[in-house]
């Protein structure tokens, strides 16, 4: 509605801006719909986002010029929320169509998610312009049932890092199986025990909290929050370890060596994390070369107060860990997720040594485990004149993965 000086009112222009933003967003979705999708799941996510955005656009279109300021502001805030929520996801979906991705991996990873997370789960695999792999928040409230797994763009075609996707899929499994609730009582008890057992750390934090007018409950909550997040990370590591076997350990070492990164409140310390991983491997009967993590550098927390909270949380995590480990492995066994079989890994390794793919239908974890073993026995294949051999190893693994899909599809109708 024009203002008295002939210009449109700020309210009218604000509403017009929101309409233009949603229209631009929808135009971008239409562009994306024309992309070459390697798998249907990305298209489905796009359809859901489009429906949500279209609904918002209709609300904006229907808003009368007489609407009051508060209503306009509410709609503008909704627009902001939608655009900020979905823009990243649109980029993720767009990058999922890039041919740099190892599209062959989608089939076995999706089958893993269907088994371990939800039979109706959908998977979008993409590549991100981030150094750390698979960091995208993949359990999105507004795309329920979708697992989003992102690898670092320069290595998104590298099968050897795919085991780290096991960790990220673990986050979905953590949520879908309600693992947090299953260990909550044990954790609360462990936190109480740790607080009693560590009076120096407890009193240090309490002193700071008292200065801010806070109480013991705030310390308990801080410890609990840190411990539960740490346990989730440990669960995800154990999940990846169970599913991908040795290849998870090699991929982990490849990306995180030599440890020592600054420590946030929601991760175990670098050495604790490796310790849990090695203990988990031992529980699964796996042998890990001791030198792999011998010189692993521990991480350091950023502030003294954090250090005390973390120390108490670490003690609680350590107390609950054995329960979590057993729960994780029992859960995966219960839903029928297989562990890599040594005989199959050996067979694939034999094929890779002869520079041919496996033709017998090995699983993705078996193939990538054999790939890691071959790479390590070949000395890492990092020299210039070994680049071709390294590239062919990846090709052979990806072809093996594709052949397994081929066999599975054909045999399903045999």
């Amino acid at each position: 509605m024009p203002s008295t000086n002939g210009l449109s009112s700020a309210k009218t222009l604000r509403l017009a801006s929101a309409r233009r933003r949603v229209r631009a967003f929808l135009d971008q979705i239409v562009e994306l719909e024309a992309a070459d999708f390697a798998h249907l799941d990305g298209e489905e996510a796009l359809t859901l986002i489009k429906a949500d955005s279209t609904a918002l656009r209709e609300l904006l279109e229907r808003m009368p010029a007489t609407a009051d300021d508060a209503s306009v502001n509410t709609m503008c805030a909704k627009t902001n929320l939608m655009v900020s929520r979905y823009t990243d996801i649109l980029g993720f979906i767009l990058r999922s169509t890039n041919v740099r991705n190892a599209f062959e991996v989608h089939f076995p990873l999706k089958r893993l998610i269907e088994k371990a997370v939800d039979p109706a789960a959908r998977l979008i695999m993409s590549s991100e312009w981030k150094f750390v792999p698979f960091t995208y928040p993949m359990t999105l409230d507004f795309l329920p049932g979708f697992a989003l797994v992102g690898g670092p763009a320069p290595e998104s075609g590298n099968l050897l890092i795919v085991p780290l996707a096991g960790h990220e899929i673990g986050h979905s499994a953590w949520r879908s199986h309600g693992v947090q609730n299953q260990i909550r009582d044990d954790l609360i008890a462990a936190v109480a025990t740790a607080l009693d057992a560590m009076p120096a750390e407890r009193d240090l934090v309490l002193k700071e909290l008292e200065a801010m007018g806070s109480a013991l409950s705030r310390l308990q909550n801080a410890v609990l929050r840190s411990a539960i997040k740490q346990l989730e990370e440990v669960f995800c590591d154990l999940f990846g370890l169970y599913v991908f076997g040795h290849s998870f350990i090699y991929a982990y070492e490849y990306f995180l060596a030599p440890g020592g990164e600054p420590r946030g409140a929601f991760y175990p310390s670098s050495r604790d994390r490796v310790g849990y991983l090695l203990d988990g491997a031992n529980s699964l009967g796996m042998t890990v070369a001791p030198e792999l993590f011998d010189t692993w550098v521990d991480s350091t927390p950023l502030a003294a107060a954090d250090h005390a909270v973390l120390a108490i949380a670490d003690a609680a995590v350590a107390a609950v860990y054995p329960t979590l480990r057993d729960l994780t492995f029992t859960l995966l066994e219960g839903v029928g997720v297989p562990k890599p079989e040594t005989a199959s890994v050996d067979r694939v390794l034999c094929a890779l040594r002869q520079h041919v793919p496996d033709g017998e239908g090995a699983s993705l974890p078996e193939i990538v485990t054999a790939g890691w073993l071959h790479l390590r026995e070949r000395g890492g294949l990092s020299l210039d004149d070994e680049a071709s051999e390294y590239q062919m190893l990846n090709e052979l693994m990806l072809k093996s993965v594709e052949v397994s899909e081929f066999k599975l599809r054909v045999d399903a109708h045999a």
Binding site: D36, A38, H39, V99, F103, E104, Q354, H355, V356, P357, D358, G359, S388, E389, Q391, M392, E395, L396, L398, K399, S400, E402, V403, E405, F406, K407, R409
Partner: protein, 207 residues
């Protein structure tokens, strides 16, 4: 040329040298039962089409060392991945590179020839023009797919697309192919430099 039984024996390594590798494996019983002197191969999921708007022309002779080359495989072409169940539509007059689903490795005593399938050729689909496979080749075969017919053709990953006839060769002192050149996607290799050609085009021969 190898018979069906000889192909089956070669796949099982009964030849005494190395075994013939075709992955996914063709079933021995199917091979022998069909009794054909070739192995059928299927179409893979990766394709490589040419970016016409970015390529004024391409020289088909190899460049001398140090000479500025043609645009690379990446800059001249676009890759496509087609999942099982979907198709690639090849329009009349168009050309695309595909690859076999199967990974082949020929032993030192076998060579082969790739040909299309008459049932597809009759619809206008030309499969392969560079048909020889040398001993010890390893990788998926790149296929040159052209529609010389008059209607658009749908080609599907997983469909039988070509066949390979195999011949015995006497292993000798031939140049060994690059052991690590095998790829799962269609390849577009640059032409190799040719010494005779270089001499022919030298503006001042002998100077």
């Amino acid at each position: 040329m190898l018979s069906a039984v000889e192909i089956a024996d070669a796949l099982e390594g009964k030849d005494g040298i190395e075994r013939l590798t075709v992955v996914p494996w063709p079933e021995r019983a199917t091979l022998v039962e069909k009794g054909e002197t070739s192995i059928d191969l299927r179409l893979g999921r990766w394709f490589r089409s040419f970016k016409q708007t970015r390529t004024p022309s391409v020289s088909l002779v190899g460049r001398r060392p140090g000479e500025v080359g043609d645009p690379t495989e990446t800059s001249r072409t676009k890759q496509h991945f087609v999942p099982f169940g979907s198709n690639y539509v090849l329009h009349p007059g168009r050309f695309v590179l595909g690859a076999t689903l199967e990974w082949l490795r020929l032993p030192a005593n076998l060579s082969g020839y790739v040909t299309g399938k008459s049932s597809l050729g009759r619809h206008g689909l030309v499969i392969e023009t560079a048909a020889g496979i040398h001993p010890q080749f390893s990788g998926c075969l790149t296929l040159e797919l052209a529609n010389v017919g008059e209607v658009p053709l749908e080609i599907y990953p997983g469909m039988p697309i070509c066949q390979v006839f195999l011949h015995r060769t006497t292993p000798g002192e031939e140049r060994q192919p690059d052991r690590f050149s095998g790829r799962r996607k269609p390849m577009l290799s640059p032409p190799k430099a040719d010494a005779i050609f270089e001499r022919l085009v030298d503006p001042k021969p002998g100077v």
